[in-house]
Symmetry: C2
Subunit: 249 residues, 2 copies
DNA sequence: TATAATTGTCTACATCATTATACAAATTCG
DNA sequence: CGAATTTGTATAATGATGTAGACAATTATA
């Protein structure tokens, strides 16, 4: 489980198949540096012994990771680690999507998937300090780094205050730039709540994930410097590709 | 998936069984307030229809949550939500375990499970700024709130600098108090990296989780105010019981 | 070139997960 | 009370997951 220590064991009858648990652990081992890039994984028989399962079960796990582009298997040679460590996504009071990934990815962009005006749910209304049922603009966006999806966000704005912001965002491709048109030159992350869960079908599709994947979820409220709520947002990050780095202050 | 919206769908052949996916989603619905405490869940048949599965599959999901103490099923009446929202664990530069959960739990404590002196893995050595293989003290602890496990931490200290700290911690039950004996009156969280994965067998046992559960993982380096590394720690939180709240500053 | 090590494929079987029906038991309500 | 609603139990069938063993194909190496 940790560093050089013995591989952790595996749970049966858990609702999570053994091959997926093993795939999770291999992924984790890679992420913490137990296997370097281009290094060979232990042979299937050794892995099977270590985890106490049949060789075919290990093969299923490896097949999933090969499908995922994490490993490459070569007959007669071995199985090799392809993918680098996870992207480290900085998160702090002033995090903007376009910043922060510098040096880790050469090309970054945010894609607007959908926008709609609708009555606020209780949760959104509370976050924005509006009456429940007030109209809000909902934006669904996907963040990409080097062509690979790394985030999937649902954001809500007060429809009255920010009428037409979806057009501005579609045009400029930037939330920050669009907010300037509404007189907001700066904003802060007021609060962030973090959780994790299995990705649902929609996020699996949008983030190009294999089924059963885990997403990290942040729920944040962005405010003006004087504390007025601007945006309520829920963002899902694929846990296998992204880690969140809390900035030291 | 979000607020009042339609229930998200379910993935087959994912390595995660349908009943577990449904249990995850019900838990999430409770956490975001779709079902209040003591409220009745929709009847099994309605849930089965909503998720597009057989009633028995829904029953498996409910059985797992009943086992977990989240729901209570009553024949002829319905199935009811027992548990409150997740514990919200504040996390910031100065977070101490004993602080922060005030008002959410009446009784909080930290239990030392194991301590050992061992050579540092590469990961730990880098975190503490030591040579790889230097001796470090490893402490395994569990945090509890109202008798329920809410965290499971592995922490490492430089064995030379903090010789005997495990005895002090066993005695006082407090990392903060023990550090004072070594002349450390204050320390800060320098960096925190966040990820998520399926709990391994050891954490399932220590955290009293059902198999297949997800853990939030923080990896942090604590330093003195002048930047000297003191402790390297990996903490696992059960995602179904805990969310992490990043403090706004 | 032989041999060992490793991944790829195949078959057979056991166990778990899911569906499909049917009916029993408890509760609520007209 | 009697009907409707809801959870509990039972049984059978099917598909997905995991185990077991055998052997082929490819690569590295003595």
């Amino acid at each position: 489980m940790i560093g050089q220590q013995i591989a952790s064991s595996i749970e049966r009858r858990s609702g999570v198949s053994l091959w997926r648990q093993i795939a999770d652990q291999i992924l984790h081992s890679i992420a913490i540096g137990d296997f370097a890039e281009n290094a060979a994984l232990p042979p299937e028989i050794a892995l099977a012994e270590r985890y106490g399962v049949n060789r075919h079960t290990v093969r299923s796990a490896i097949a999933a990771l090969v499908q995922d582009g994490v490993l490459r298997a070569e007959q007669g040679r071995g199985t090799f680690v392809l993918s680098r460590k996870r992207l480290s996504y900085p998160i702090g009071a002033r995090t903007r999507f376009s910043e922060g990934l510098q040096g880790q990815a050469t090309e970054r962009r945010s894609v607007l998937l959908e926008s709609a005006v609708e009555p606020a749910s209780r949760r959104v209304a509370e976050g924005l300090g509006l009456a429940k049922g007030s109209n809000v603009i909902r934006l669904e966006t996907r963040g990409e780094a080097d062509g690979q999806p790394v985030s999937r966000a649902s954001g809500w704005f007060d429809a009255k205050r920010f009428e037409g912001i979806e057009a501005a965002i579609a045009e400029t491709g930037s939330v920050t730039a669009s907010l300037q048109r509404f007189g907001i030159s700066d904003y802060l992350r007021q609060s962030t709540v973090l959780s994790a869960r299995h990705a649902d079908a929609a996020d699996l599709a949008d983030l190009d994930l294999q089924s059963g994947a885990i997403v990290l979820v942040t729920v944040a409220v962005n405010v003006t410097p004087d504390g007025q709520p601007i945006q309520f947002a829920e963002t899902r990050f694929p846990a296998e590709r992204v880690e969140l780095k809390l900035s030291a202050r």
